[in-house]
Symmetry: C2
Subunit: 348 residues, 2 copies
């Protein structure tokens, strides 16, 4: 199997390294061969080529069976509202050009870490929900966007076609059918025209999935209920921007951002990435938590290679590392902590 490696910026390269060790160990144990092809993206790619998602990177991804991606972002671009090229443009171009219309972000808890959550144990224990965030349309891509000629007015366009909504919604229904059969459509249909089209489209699909119960909830209400009672949710579908906000909010439940993986699925190759950012303050220090990336590799075995046993071997060893305290300083709590590469070696 061909795996494209896109380490990206900040801690990206360090955490990707650990995932590669684990993938190789799985290959050895289960008898699979992997070829890894590395490519640049993000600020690193701007520095090297001027383009945050170069054609060469795209070709490597398209020829692969899966993409393992680290993180992008560099603070030197964040506080410069006038920067012409941004690392994030590379991320968006990659999502669009790879057709990754569905970002799958599970939220669950780890028994050995549940006490680290800012939320009370009884509220979160047993949480098992998954967001399907639309990833290639909406206000992230809609045109027109920009400034008025005088520069004193700015605008963005949120736009969705029925087709874009229904392919994501169908995936949501199918996820729900394999899970607890509850689908929540998150929108702001009391204000937005796009949200009304979301709601209408999902309503029209309902009869095709009679075993799935569908709930419609406003994004502001979900932002509350997600913290009050996350166990109420099973599968949630939502547009790009709401998904960005809510999935990050949901990541708080588990107690550590450093643990949450994601998969991006669509029309071409599948991509796997931790949901945390490039964490520039930690870059190069060998302290970043690699578990979210390792668990993203587990999702790769499940979703891209259809090898659930291999996926389980990875999540099992991650759970073991948490139980045994073979963890980085962000979750060690004054106990002995290990470096990024030590955790990777141990897992492998």
């Amino acid at each position: 199997m061909n795996i494209a490696l896109l380490p990206g910026d900040g801690i990206g390269p360090e955490v990707i390294d650990q995932a590669v060790k684990v993938v190789k160990a799985v290959g050895k144990k289960f008898g699979h061969e992997f070829t890894f092809n590395e490519a640049v993206v993000g600020a690193t790619a701007i520095d090297k080529t001027g383009d945050p998602y170069p054609d060469a990177t795209h070709e490597i991804c398209m020829k692969s069976d899966a993409v393992l991606f680290g993180a992008i972002g560099d603070p030197k671009y964040d506080n410069d509202p006038k920067a012409k090229v941004r690392p994030e443009q590379g991320l968006l171009k990659m999502r669009k050009n790879l057709g990754l219309f569905s970002n799958v972000r599970p939220t669950f808890t780890f028994n050995s870490l549940i006490h680290k959550s800012p939320l009370k144990k009884e509220r979160i224990e047993g949480t098992d929900l998954v967001f399907l965030r639309e990833l290639t349309s909406g206000i992230y891509f809609g045109e027109p966007r920009g400034r008025s000629e005088q520069g004193d007015k700015a605008f963005d366009t949120n736009i969705y076609t029925k087709e874009e909504i229904s392919r994501l919604a169908r995936m949501g229904f199918e996820f729900a059918q394999k899970r607890r059969k509850l689908l929540t459509c998150v929108d702001k249909a009391n204000v937005l025209a796009t949200s009304r089209l979301w709601r209408e489209t999902v309503q029209e699909l309902e009869p095709e999935y009679p075993d799935v119960k569908v709930e419609y909830e406003f994004v502001d209400a979900v932002a509350m209920r997600l913290i009050q009672w996350p166990k109420a949710y099973d599968v949630l579908i939502t547009e790009n921007l709401f998904g960005d906000i809510l999935t990050d909010e949901a990541s708080v439940i588990s107690g550590s951002m450093g643990l949450m993986p994601s998969a991006s699925l669509g029309t071409h190759v599948k991509l796997f990435e931790p949901i945390h950012g490039s964490y520039p303050q930690a870059a190069g220090k060998n302290i970043a938590n690699p578990l979210a990336t390792v668990l993203s590799a587990a999702m790769m075995f499940e979703y891209a290679f259809n090898l659930p046993e291999e996926a389980k071997a990875i999540s099992d060893v991650v759970n073991l590392s948490l139980e045994k305290g073979i963890v980085t300083e962000d979750i060690a709590e004054g106990e002995k902590s290990y470096s990024t590469s030590e955790v990777g070696d141990w897992l492998a």
Copy 2:
């Protein structure tokens, strides 16, 4: 002083009744006269006049020194994506026509209720933050919005002028100067053109307020940090849609939505309302929690009448009711609970 009363829908009338009792009691104690003028808004106004914010209501508001508003919304409109007139349109028209560009939503904890929060005590004790949500522009109002001719595509426009951003930002700086001198500008400047104008505009204002420290943070990061460590924030400014989501999320901290008041300030009359919705399931049952509305009346004394002592008398008695357990069933926890009107009578 003239107060316009807009009870609105659902539990609105019941909770407004209690606030009126308390305002009258304050008037008696401190020697103020009030005239109350009631008007319709929301679903109630549609049923009566066909218009969710009739001209007659607008005139009553404009002639008043302050507006006390309950809630709007009726489920019969929520799941009908094709409804022509919606209660929410009345709310938006009211905000726009009254020039209420800044929605002030404080988040704080009550000692006697802190154990009810889904968050751990040590994370939230002492939280004291305030959101200034832009309320009359952005994607709530931007044009064009609607459907393509074939109906298979929908779009909304997010739009901001420098002027709209700077008047809200200036209010944020001034709030911060009177508080802990930290201002957080919440945006998505790595993706949205409007957010880049927000960031640029706030950056330009910084030198005028040298005593205020300004932080810029992406909306997805705030959605996390707000739950992880709310004490990190003092004053947050944000656009309309992000404010809608984040202020509702923040309301979870206190442990009860039924407690959180808000003020809307701008170019004409000031408006005060609980942040909870119309809670139709409870309407007419005399069980709704009136405290958020009563605390909104306290904000009215502070922001509209500049009578801080009267405001404090109200918040003191609310605290006392919480300590003594003179509360509605939503916060009574198996202890004896009181009806909406009993709580109002006790407070008065």
